[in-house]
């Protein structure tokens, strides 16, 4: 049986204000996503440029992100109560609740990175950072592309983001081995290396959340499993 329900064309609602509400909800998610994307970028820039002010700014932005999450959740719940959405509308509103949560977690990881940067820059640098910025670049692109896929309701693009998570995991594993070697070579650098390791871990988790959002986009479009991309793809 082909999944013929997918990608059904979307027309306007008879009640125009309903369309406006759904569009506003989408815009808020995109706004929150853009904010979080920037937080991640700035946290990494603060690390590379050893810039404490930027790191502090990332930490401060956390409140704004939390407020947006609250606003999105309130609006989604209000739409559920007043419109009783069905089919694609229901999937969209329900997933807005979940996606806002993924974005909020992503923001928390960016803040965590920024806090570690604030501590790291008090000490002399270990060596020029190469792998972490490259990994960060990959993760940032995942966030950007997944938000793009969300706006366009593009399940294929979401799938592409989902596939890239493996590369992020590989980066993390190689960083783990590299940093472990440094610690063994010079135990005085242990605390610094652990901070860097956690930064890498946070980036890896951000990649996971981008992947989660990709799965939700697939559900919005196709309406099948919410928390898993097709098993065939995983192979």
């Amino acid at each position: 049986m082909p999944e013929s329900g997918e990608g059904l064309p979307i027309r306007k609602h008879t009640v125009r204000s309903f369309d406006e509400e759904l569009e506003h909800l989408t815009r808020q998610i995109v706004h929150m996503g853009a904010l979080v994307e920037r937080q991640v970028a700035e946290a990494i820039r603060a690390l590379v440029e050893r810039d404490g002010d930027t790191a502090a700014r990332v930490v401060q932005q956390d409140d704004e992100v939390d407020e947006l999450e609250e606003a999105i959740d309130q609006e989604a719940i209000r739409i559920l109560a007043t419109r009783q959405p069905m089919a694609i509308d229901l999937r969209m509103v329900a997933m807005a609740l979940k996606i806002s949560n993924d974005l909020e977690r992503t923001s928390d990881y960016a803040v965590n990175i920024a806090r570690r940067v604030q501590r790291l820059i008090e000490q002399p640098p270990l060596k020029p950072l190469v792998t972490i910025p490259r990994m960060a670049e990959l993760v940032q692109l995942m966030i950007k592309d997944v938000l793009d896929a969300y706006v366009r309701r593009d399940a294929e693009r979401a799938l592409d983001v989902w596939r890239r998570d493996e590369e992020v995991d590989q980066y993390y594993n190689s960083l783990f081995r590299e940093l472990l070697t440094y610690i063994l070579e010079d135990p005085r650098r242990t605390s610094m290396c652990i901070d860097l390791l956690f930064i890498a871990k946070n980036l890896e988790r951000i990649g996971d959340h981008a992947t989660n959002i990709a799965e939700k986009i697939r559900y919005i479009v196709h309406g099948d499993l919410i928390n898993r991309m097709s098993r065939d793809v995983k192979k």
């Binding site: 049986m1 013929s4 329900g5 059904l8 064309p9 979307i10 027309r11 306007k12 609602h13 008879t14 009640v15 309903f18 009783q84 959405p85 069905m86 089919a87 694609i88 509308d89 229901l90 999937r91 196709h222 309406g223 099948d224």
Partner: protein, 279 residues
Amino acid sequence: MTAMDKARDGYTVTLGRAADPGSEFAARVKVEVEGLSFWYGGKQALFDVTMPIAERRVTALIGPSGCGKSTFLRCFNRMHDLYPGNRYAGRIVLHPDGIDIVSPKTDPMIPRLRIGMVFQKPNPFPKSIYENVAAGLRIRGIRDRALLDEQVEKSLRRAALWDEVKDRLDASAYDLSGGQQQRLCIARALAPEPEILLLDEPTSALDPIATAHIEELIDELRAEYTIVIVTHNMQQAARISQFTGFFHLGRLVEFGPTQQLFTRPRETMTQDYITGRFG
């Protein structure tokens, strides 16, 4: 969930995924509608409708006004025979005996005795509460007072009305509230113990509380009866039915498990209708 699998074993047709024999989507088929068309005189109102009605499940029929869902429902008890010039084509096979309800050879009284119907507006007879419920039994020639008493009480209890009327069975049915009158009509339909209950927008004239009572009742009656309900309220269809058929311009556009139809319709037209994007 994919479209339903159909497995045939004698008259037993199983709907739902073969993998879930215990699920509420696995049901025997009580009625098989096959290629049903219907004409009001020269005007065709139903076009080649084929769908199963699951036994002891609630099947909801939805669609915009004039889509043919009420016309479809009324074929089941040959109500259209009351007007000359109306014509059926195709079959409505009633199981387990396999009689074709719309065959000219079938006496229309047969489906009428086996199928009960309740309409949009409560339409009690201008009689006492008791006589309303007993009416169908008297037509069937039951005169034994004790038997009538027993059946009237049983039907009123099933319709969740007994406690409210037991002390005033001789009062006029018109003394009851709208919601009570509708439950009385359901009791009247249940009294002759029909196999199928047809409900044509049974709550559209009722307030939310009375509606909730009827919905609760439908859910309880499902244990014993096969129920087909026409409703304009999509949330209601989503709440109370296990299967849903969506009609448009006399055609069945989509039929499937209710949960699937409301979260993941296969047809664009279904999605446009249930999400409020129609036309």
